[in-house]
Subunit: 479 residues, 2 copies
Amino acid sequence: MKKEKKDNKKTSMNRRQFAKAALGGLGAAAASPLALTEAIAKAEADEKKVQDFRKNCVTTVENPILVDESRYQRFSTANIAFNAYSRDIGESHWAPYGRNLIKNLKQGKGGKDIKVGTFDDARAVNGLEAAMQSGNRLTGNHGEGHENRGPLAWDNHITSADLGSFPKSELPPEEFTKQVKIAARLGGANLVGVCKLDHKWVYESTQRNVYSPDTPETQKIVFRDVDRPQETKDELIIPSKVKYAVVMAVEMPRTLIQSSPGPAAGIGDALGYSRMGWAAIALAEYIRCMGYTAIPCKNDTALSVPLAIEAGIGEPGRMGVIITPEYGPCVRLCKVLTDMPLVPDKPIKFGVEQFCNYCKKCARECPSKCITEGEQTWEPRNECNNGGVKKWYNDYKKCLGFWDENGMSCTNCVAVCPFTKGDMWAHHFTEWSIDNIHASHPIWLTLDDAFGYGQRREDLDVFKRDFAPYGMDPDKMPR
Amino acid sequence: MKKEKKDNKKTSMNRRQFAKAALGGLGAAAASPLALTEAIAKAEADEKKVQDFRKNCVTTVENPILVDESRYQRFSTANIAFNAYSRDIGESHWAPYGRNLIKNLKQGKGGKDIKVGTFDDARAVNGLEAAMQSGNRLTGNHGEGHENRGPLAWDNHITSADLGSFPKSELPPEEFTKQVKIAARLGGANLVGVCKLDHKWVYESTQRNVYSPDTPETQKIVFRDVDRPQETKDELIIPSKVKYAVVMAVEMPRTLIQSSPGPAAGIGDALGYSRMGWAAIALAEYIRCMGYTAIPCKNDTALSVPLAIEAGIGEPGRMGVIITPEYGPCVRLCKVLTDMPLVPDKPIKFGVEQFCNYCKKCARECPSKCITEGEQTWEPRNECNNGGVKKWYNDYKKCLGFWDENGMSCTNCVAVCPFTKGDMWAHHFTEWSIDNIHASHPIWLTLDDAFGYGQRREDLDVFKRDFAPYGMDPDKMPR
């Protein structure tokens, strides 16, 4: 990311002004100045109706994920980077992370090269991050390794014992689908979709000794013809009748994430995890009240990204996460697995793949260079990827290596993604560019950069603003 | 409340149209038709800038609560209506409540006289309420009796052990105040204010055997010159240095509360409790990170309403709760007590007392007639009130009696309050009326009723709408 500036506003010009200026620079490549101006006008109008964007600019597709079934195998949480990298370095990867965090903190820093201010300033921003993590901790830290534990219990009744004791309600799937979507939204989800639960996205096993350098202590996750979820020493058992996933996205406040790789970005990340925990738990509780099985999940139990793709939440991007029409990649995902009969949503496309082919800004701004600049392939980079799916494969151990060195997590890829900006100008501009200036991605990057997007926000900005609750963006909410 | 109508929109006319029609009816009392039209125009403009209303239309006061110090004594949670009424009836008041809830449910009802639809319909709305309570349960049900327990622990470090271990930061109180307000907002608070902690609002003791018909098992809440909060068998000990309260209000979605006394209103109430729990916990965690003591509270430990008045969150109303400029009484309150040096806010006035003197709509629409139609006094109605404060005293055991009979909680008073409507037309209209037609409250009530406000929304409406996350109103959020 670029060196931060005191005031982003001063550096970015009006889009229309810029379009004019840029057209000169585009020179021979620019086929139609008028069309560009129109594209920008269209985008400016769309900014005012983000809710309509999904309706108007998104198409549905049938098979959004290409899988080589002869080769694909279910993944284990033992191989997620947090666990694998901890084995590589012989201690929990949070240990060097924590040591560097404290070392930086004492120097008023919130990252290896990020001066926040005084010690107290750095402590305050880090403290806000820790505070916003509290909901995540209370609902099973990040999820992985906490399957069927505490509030993430698979056969729980927090409040619903009475209602859950009636025989299950038999409503049309359309009705149930409406209901679970309302429950998800009221539980805090910004976006919600439904898909059939493809077993291949369910983890093959989970590592209980999370982030340990030792040999993984795992339990298999299996499907069996049982009435209720069960657990033995070796197995977590999901009833075979559990055939759907309700997938939810919670917004991470964009303006916080834009401080990556500084500590204010961690606040946004923490808010995502804290909110997702309760969203999954609340929705599961609702489903149980109607007499059905519900398994609330954060990062645990199944891969969230393919489920979210299949549930129509968004489209996969180069950086390996989901890109949503409303928030770009600036979301966290959670889900509830259930036997309640539901109507699946359609997967969507809105030009992400095409855009990611050209843009590569995430790869350029990645401090560890862990994001591929290449094409989609079927080949994993290491044990932390699951091969046999056509996608962009990135090196997540490299990514974590930077976190540890930085003493602070990093979401540069999310922060700089043009889809994170919170408006749709990039989409229309891209449409126009693809038609008019093929292979011109350096030009868009220049445009995106010149607009002042992707500059790091100062961490102390967090104390100078007037946030909506949870730092959410009111302009993106349904009314 | 009136019999519900299928579609409120059809019944309410445009305000301007109504103003014209009403002026005829007002007859001789109406001094200035032009001024009325202007008042309504002004109000309509204000609706579009709720955030500005607090800045522009609210004045500050010095002593918002009149107390007879010779008479006032600290209150005990043993005497809150939930506990006192349970003793009166010889069982937990939730027992008859639950029996009636299930009886109603089987008949497709969600309240004594409230037909929701089929059994499944009623189950779905009740289920949504139960689901939205899950966050409340996880953070110590409502708070009372859960002081210093679980996530409400008084000397806890959920995530902040490292940061909290440094000597406390010494920043100017102005800085700390800015920081805690941001932490509150990011933790989900819609409104936040600070007051000095007057010991008289701290409960004298708390009943641990909550909602029990048996003799209360209480612990005293005392202030002592200790470094950290402590607990013995008989006492909860707050360090004397704890001198401030940060008070937070979370919005209850107005359009849900307007189904009172039906089950959809309970969803709004549950959301308030679930959100307030985490807001208090997250803020407490932040304060601990900076090296200070923080006691997170829901309804427990201290009376929320007087603290919220003193922190400038709102003005007290006839129904006994706080009325805020932004949400009227449609909020829940929580707070964090701390020794962090802070700058108190000023208490506010915006005409609530004057309005409540005339309006009395809450009293009229209260099914149990527990809300006084009389003047403010110093006299408690029973042991559930704390005498010696000048205010409206209501009979909260009568209120709960209705809940139990109804098999469903009731928030009619909140639902019908003109300040709940979510706009400020009432304020300006009142200003105008007070100037022009003294003692005319029946006329405003007629106007308010005729606008279609205060009609019960059908419970199943909840599944027909497109909610923002947590059902919040995006138009009332800061941008």
